[in-house]
Symmetry: C2
Subunit: 479 residues, 2 copies
């Protein structure tokens, strides 16, 4: 598409300023711009040549997020080489933009001194992200190299449970008392040293004398008010407050639901301890939806970036669990081997009943799992949703029964067989609908993540009911 | 949990200030607080009694997002009743917080005058969301009732393609020339009328004389600088710019990747036409991940909220497509009916081969679909990822072959049968791995959404290859 001589630094986003009249850029083009294959090739060549200077020239013009993407695209070995060669010349934000799997490779290859220097410059929440999955010895070594204050902040953050608000939050924040005027506030902000204020903030948090948040003021409002106006007269009372131990999934849901830009984080005594901003939450939202989608298929998060043996092992466990389901289904078939011997058409048709049940069950289950995750399904509407799924199952079961029954009749010219498969189909689609909604709800109530465990149970139900209904009816009525 | 006499308005979030020493609130509790079953019951009673005053008392203390959630939980009939009774007393933001399905019900029941009044007060992007799915006649009627300026803005927005940056963006924005000082900027902001500035903004956009964005300044920086400092000296050059026709999925990816809070939107000539803020993008991120997860299972978006017949129809189409796959598998089995008649154990075991292939294929396919959506999988690393999937398939295929072969041996005491199922298993797991990665990549290259179409093709491969390999090998070597 473009030659290496192009002026624009390879890999850098450039959606702006398309020549007038040209069609809008399409997703395909954008991806090429992000990380063009020819750019990656040049990186690979420079890695092979261990050419530190050339790599620095290639990489340094890029945005930290693009450098992170570059690491993701490379293999584990290439990542380590690149980190070894230019790790000390990267912006620290590259580390916090990496996936956990790529981060592990990069940290392995970077000298502890360079890691400590990077961590020192990161905001607390990003520093915690970089450090939290390290083995303890390395983590201690890095922490030892940090300045005292930074170390205390990071250690405090690491003391909060994984995936909690305490790990997501930023400790640097601007809190003001309600009796201040706009003028006092602005003078206070101007008087702060550069490293005493957060890099970016969007709201002032108003606190009472016990340092409990009692309001918030968007910066746009501060800017538009005259100096003599008091904070208490322009603040939004009842600020959105998050407890430090809240799970990040819940934090993300609050942000999305209430369109928050930032929220105050408090400890058990209601005292302000930090602030979470929306840019950190965006990552969480992506991560949580990703987790559900992968869990439903029996794949672990970060599958694309981890090594072959880890992937094999994680997926194998899931396959073995499903093998249990498959063998159970075979045992059901085994009960009817005499029936099948007499009428081999049953063996030909039986997978249709089981697999259509599986498909219908997966449909309902997926909707239920997501509705539970987004809280669209709760005790308040459970009865209505179950009734709806049952009705949908009866309708689609009946329609499928007609289609499949007619197909079986056309194929085997046996009205009894056609009737049996039609009835078995209705039974199995209803079983699929009910198990698809009830199993995720039951798991959720038991505190088990329905995304991970539902599909095994639902498939077991649809396989067992499908084969049993079809072969059982055949044994009873056809022979 | 709580009595109706509790002081806190039912349904309102309250994660703040847990009594010291009590454990952190858990997700289960939070959900109950959000929309407690007993609160919903009181709403239902008031709807049944058509008691407008009681409903207003119940609903008005809630945050608009909680009122929207309330509508989602109710049935379509209850939604319409509630909208009819208190629709004119709701904050306009309730409408833009509703899902498309619930919005349709609510708009149906609200008088056009009330809808127009609400739309008039919404920001452009939210107004567009409310209007975009209406039938044309109603839309025209609402537009006619809007003030001239608001109407023009909404009509312009509706002229952009669905799901484009043009529909997401806010038209009210603050743009300043680079030669202004901080003092001039602040005076300008203070001089604006309330309705001339956006409700919330986080950055100033710096424009050149042709109104093209050339920089941005976070408000926190404006606040911290003295009045005499010039914008050009503190602005971030190269602002993140989005073309007005860019797809919202791409917009969301840019925001997530570069941790943006807001971004300038430009037209074909590079002129600033609007601004997108992160709170609108959070919705898009949730929506897009949701779409993929549901599409993989053959369910359409908003399934939880649409009517029974629409749901049945949408899901039935998917089931019929999958029925094709199932019948194809049956045809393959039909080829070997004589073989099965001679050895009924084949009928008992054959679903194991097909279903394990289906599971392994789904694992790979889900990873591939998500990696394509997040651009983690691209031309630059395709070869590496395909090689990895092939290796994982060989490893897991071999391991499963051993387990299943031994199980078959223990069950049927037939070493030939055990060998055949083991070999068939290896073949099918490899077929599953390759089709799981190659089919989504091929669909993506053809411009077809891999989330929607992949699973039918992958299942077809694993069913056909599974039955054919197992029964074919059995026919060739066992009889």
């Amino acid at each position: 598409m473009t030659t290496p001589d192009d002026r624009e630094p390879a890999g850098v986003t450039d959606v702006a300023d398309p020549p007038a009249g040209e069609p809008a850029p399409e997703a395909q083009d954008l991806r090429d711009v992000h990380l063009r294959a020819d750019f990656i090739e040049r990186i690979r060549d420079a890695i092979d040549a261990a050419d530190r200077e050339r790599l620095k020239d290639l990489v340094q013009p890029l945005h930290s997020a693009d450098i992170a993407d570059l690491f993701e695209v490379l293999s584990a070995g290439e990542r380590r080489e690149l980190a070894r060669l230019v790790g000390d010349a990267l912006e620290p934000e590259v580390l916090s933009d990496l996936s956990t799997a790529a981060l592990e490779d990069v940290l392995e290859a970077m000298p502890p001194k360079a890691v400590a220097e990077a961590v020192q410059q990161l905001e607390t929440d990003d520093a915690i992200y970089v450090l939290e999955d390290m083995d303890e010895a390395t983590q201690r070594e890095i922490l030892r190299r940090l300045a005292k204050e930074e170390r205390a902040a990071v250690e405090e953050g690491l003391a909060y449970p994984e995936d909690s608000a305490g790990r997501l939050m930023q400790r640097d924040l601007i809190a003001v008392p309600e009796f201040w005027t706009i003028g006092q506030t602005i003078d206070y902000l101007r008087a702060q040293e550069e490293d005493e204020v957060p890099a970016d903030f969007y709201e002032l948090i108003v606190v009472d004398p016990a340092y409990r948040p009692i309001g918030s003021v968007p910066l746009s409002r501060v800017l538009r008010c005259r100096r003599h106006i008091r904070i208490r007269d322009i603040m939004d009372p009842n600020p959105h407050i998050i407890h430090v131990a809240t799970d990040q999934e819940e934090v993300a849901r609050e942000f999305a639901k209430y369109h928050l830009i930032s929220a105050a984080v408090v400890d058990d005594s209601g005292r302000l301890v930090g602030v979470i901003t929306v840019d950190d939450v965006v990552d969480v939202i992506e991560e949580e939806a990703e987790e559900d989608i992968l869990a439903l298929a029996g794949v672990s998060e970060g599958d694309v970036n981890i090594g072959i043996f880890e992937v094999s092992r994680a997926r194998f466990i899931w396959l073995i669990v499903n093998l249990g389901t498959a063998i159970l289904a075979s045992l059901v078939i085994g009960l009817f081997d005499a029936t099948i011997e007499q009428m081999v058409a049953l063996a030909v048709l039986m997978p249709i009943v089981a697999s259509m049940g599986g498909n219908a069950g997966t449909q309902t289950m997926t909707v239920a799992v997501r509705a539970l995750a987004t809280k669209e399904l709760s005790a308040a509407n459970a009865a209505r949703i179950i009734a709806k799924e049952l009705t949908v199952s009866i309708i689609n079961g009946a329609l499928l029964a007609i289609v499949v029954g007619l197909a079986a009749l056309a194929w085997f010219h046996d009205i009894g067989l056609a009737a049996v498969i039609a009835v078995a189909m209705v039974i199995n689609i209803i079983a699929a609908g009910l198990s698809g909604i009830l199993i995720p709800m039951a798991l959720d109530r038991l505190g088990i993540d329905p995304a991970i465990a539902s599909s095994v149970f639902v498939t077991t139900v649809t396989d067992v009911v499908g084969f049993f209904a079809f072969l059982g009816l055949a044994a009873a009525f056809l022979l």
